[in-house]
Amino acid sequence: MKPKYILVLLLMIGAAFAPSTWNVRAQESPRRIEITARKFGFDPSEITVKKGQPVVLVVKSADVAHGLRFRELNLNVKVDKGGTAELPFTPDKTGDFVGHCSVFCGSGHGEMTLTMHVVN
């Protein structure tokens, strides 16, 4: 086989594999952020995520049932006493958003917040 045919063959093989490589990149697994909820706060209390980058908030309860709700983003997750719950989403707008505990958990429930910064 002439060298130029070998080169064409290699290019064709490369072209055939390239899209699947791009696919792998496009389907990159979402970033996971672990958050512990306990009376009466979230740890961490601030997170930063990127617009357009899929993310999963993994909320763990260290005591009673809690929740995490971002009203402006229409996101809400509830977690059972001592349990774990996941909130997958892709931020589609930038800004600072304050999430609140969405399950009444006691006297300091109203001050239980988590601030999420969504940046470009």
Binding site: R71, H100, C101, F104, S107, G108, H109, G110, E111, M112, T113
Partner: protein
């Protein structure tokens, strides 16, 4: 004798018409602030549902599930009396005043403030719930009184 005088002095009786009227006027015009603040939440069914849920956690013990004291066992034995939240006296407060009352309570009645216990969003959603209370008795008795 002194002890007896103390007990009589502390006796709580329902307020008369003049006392109620004076207090109501003072509350509406001087004591309850925040008259002009607007509710930042939309007045829709979702907000009403949020308000109903928040109300059910903290307010039903005294105000009942319907905000009209239905199913509250001690409602006839407390002074000053617990008002129906559907009453003209309550409904004539502005949204901002209702939020102020939810935040700070009303001294010296038994109404406690909820600032910190409930979030601002929850408190504003309760204001929406208060503006559209369900019919009296339609929500049954609060769970805490049925066990």
């Amino acid at each position: 004798m002194l002890a007896l005088a103390g007990v009589i002095g502390c006796k709580s009786t329902p307020p008369g018409k003049f006392e109620s009227g004076t207090m109501s006027f003072a509350k509406h015009h001087f004591l309850i602030g925040n008259k002009k603040q607007k509710n930042p939440l939309p007045d829709n069914h979702d907000t009403w549902n949020d308000g109903k849920e928040a109300f059910s956690h903290y307010c039903v013990a005294c105000h009942g599930m319907d905000g009209q004291n239905i199913g509250v066992p001690f409602v006839d034995h407390i002074s000053p009396p617990i008002p129906s939240l559907a009453s003209k006296d309550v409904q004539s407060y502005t949204d901002g005043q209702l939020k102020w009352i939810l935040d700070n309570g009303i001294w010296p009645s038994g109404m406690p403030g909820s600032k910190g216990t409930l979030s601002d969003e929850e408190l504003w959603s309760i204001v929406v719930f208060l503006r559209h209370l369900p019919p009296a008795g339609s929500q049954g008795t609060p769970d805490i009184y049925t066990h």
